[in-house]
Symmetry: C2
Subunit: 396 residues, 2 copies
């Protein structure tokens, strides 16, 4: 099968060169088609179908897409290529396109720091109850221990626990009713190898729930936050400033409000520590208009790469020693504690029957450590970080 892939890849590259397509996008297009072929090969029942027709229809689409950003997509969108082509008007599709673009762009940005063949593994999955997702994971790389970027586009009826949670946040929803929902979102965690490079997490999502009267409630939520292992004030300022710029373009009250929300949310009460140095976090955003909210979320999504990639660039070749790695591992233990004990998304996912667990838990680090009674030496760089985690700081 792989020999066939290689042959197909070689022929496509030749075609691309012949068509004078720019090298970057065309090679991505080739990868995208190959991804489809690979995905198909794992499903033995549909092998023949995918091996011929769909592969070539994918190929056809790859050459007819007119928006250059679409060339970075990692797999066929859950709602299909046609639905997302051009400028869709439905918010669900606009949000899915935003997620697809960001996933593709970030994968490409991060792969730049890996040499050789190390690429994101792409899994496109579907969900029996409705919808599916695209999980991209790069594991055990030279620069990234584990980086996962997941898109999900799911619909069905809200589980009662989710209704209860939304009601507790003030949503006017009826209890004990079947409430149809539609959710589109992207979530990502990047755990780098070098302890001088911080971990980033972000997630942006759009939610629609039909009330029993048929009225549709919709809102946006999300945020971006940074978890350094060693504090670098300049990096912290760069990260927060980039997010602040994205916020300020829409509403000057957003950054201070969402910065505080982030500090409060990414909290590990039993450790009396924050998970990291924060960023922004918001939920239930539906004002002033849906259009304004989407524009704001688009700005946030656009700020992910400029907020983080320069920090990777700056530090991924920094020298480090075993004691730095040990501290990084201990902090990854705390990250795991937060994700498994407190994170709303993870908890919700773990308790959802038939959820794709691997996509939910890809946020966990490749390796983590727990030492009994570990306390860094007073005044050490490790202690310096801890002080900031215990008492969040304003960075701008």
């Amino acid at each position: 099968m792989w020999k066939t892939f290689s042959a197909v890849r070689a022929s496509l590259s030749t075609i691309c060169r012949a068509l004078h397509s720019p090298l970057g996008p065309s090679s991505v297009r080739v990868n995208w088609v190959l991804t489809a072929v690979r995905a198909a090969s794992s499903s033995s029942r549909r092998r023949l179908l995918w091996g011929s027709g769909v592969c070539f229809s994918g190929l056809a689409v790859a050459f007819t897409l007119d928006k250059p950003t679409s060339c970075t997509w990692k797999a066929e969108p859950i709602s299909g290529v046609k639905a997302l082509r051009g400028a869709p008007s439905e918010m669900r599709l606009r949000m899915e396109k935003l997620c697809m673009d960001l996933q593709g762009q970030l994968c490409a940005e991060l792969e730049r720091f890996e040499s050789g063949d190390k690429k994101f593994r792409v899994d496109r999955w579907t969900r029996e109850e409705g919808g599916g997702g695209i999980s991209c994971v790069l594991q055990d790389g030279e620069s990234f221990e584990k980086a996962g970027i997941n898109i999900s586009v799911v619909h069905g009826n809200l589980p009662p626990a989710a209704v209860a949670q939304m009601r507790s946040r003030g949503k006017a929803m009826q209890e004990g009713k079947q409430l149809p929902f539609y959710a589109v979102g992207i979530s990502c965690v990047v755990h780098p190898v070098n302890p001088m490079v911080p971990t980033i997490h972000f997630n942006y999502r759009y939610f629609e729930v039909s009330d029993s009267s048929g009225k549709i409630l919709s809102w946006f939520g999300g945020g971006t936050d940074l978890t350094p292992y060693y504090l670098n004030e300049e990096d912290a300022k760069h990260f927060h400033s980039t997010l602040k710029q994205a916020c300020d373009a829409h509403d000057k009250t957003y950054y201070p409000k969402y910065k505080k929300w982030c500090d409060n949310y990414f909290n590990i009460p039993h450790r009396k520590e924050r998970r990291g140095i924060g960023g922004i976090f918001f939920d239930d955003l539906e004002t002033p208009t849906k259009e304004d909210c989407f524009k704001f979320v688009s700005s946030c999504a656009s700020s992910v790469i400029p907020s983080y990639v320069p920090l990777v660039e700056k530090h991924y070749r920094d020298s480090f020693k075993e004691n730095h790695m040990r501290w990084q591992q201990l902090r990854r233990g705390r990250y795991t504690e937060f994700n498994l004990v407190y994170d709303r998304g993870t908890k919700f996912g773990l308790h959802t029957p038939a959820a794709r667990i691997e996509s939910i838990l890809m946020s966990l680090p490749l390796t983590a450590r727990w030492e009994y009674m570990h306390e860094p030496e007073k005044g050490s760089p490790e202690d310096e970080l801890l002080q900031v985690l215990r008492t969040p700081k304003d960075w701008i």
Copy 2:
């Protein structure tokens, strides 16, 4: 301060030898007194008091205890030496003594597998609301990556969440009232270095709650279970048979009932796997009489060492390779998932204000690993274990 300790230790050893005490117990006695001195040194306010009077009263007690098992105690019992001396009649104290004995004996048994100076670290702690505990942890050893044995003897008023949980289990308790409680228990997790040696967990506890009418409800709970990384049928049979014998001596229905309860409790629903190969687990035990329950729990406690230590002895020198370690690390990731997401005791502890977090989370492994989409090769030893975790088996 350490020079003083060494001088005291040397003098005490000389006294012990002069008194012709058997070497084992006398050296333990010396360690116990030294532990008291060390604990005292960490409390600056009481340093003078502990440094003189209490140290020597501890010394006096160490030489006047008449039960040989008491010589293995790792620190001064939370209820005091006097209360536990001889044969106390109160169930709270009998249970505390049982916990103290088991803790001391198991520490000594496990230390046999470590060379040199590697010993359990002993922390005696008190709790502002009432009571305290003794945590013994051996970390980064030659044979044990992390082994923690914790005793807690705590009292106060039950938090409302605990009342709700107990009510949901059928306890006749009034909601919204201040209910005084008293709890004594021991809990332990041993994570060995060698992947051929399984992890053991056990916990035994006695609970008293005063109803608002003043009536005292009391019950026992606990269990012992095994988490191997590689399946060894002979070991599994030995482990389960030892527990079955302890059960059968009291009630022939106990083992099958509690074996099933254990399989159901140590379940990771989101993975569709059990944590390990089970053992026994029970809760709310109060019949036929309190005395019978205590005798049963005593048998369970007595079966811990014979169920597990022979397995350590048998395998701790087994050869292993990097792939075995990697699998062990992945299984430790699952262990962490169970403990942080589902374990009732851990969840309860994490949400209890002013709980001693280090004693609760000492059950987490020193190191763990999460790989995206890891699936062992069909028919491999790793897969063989997984089959048993997916479908629990009868071992006897």
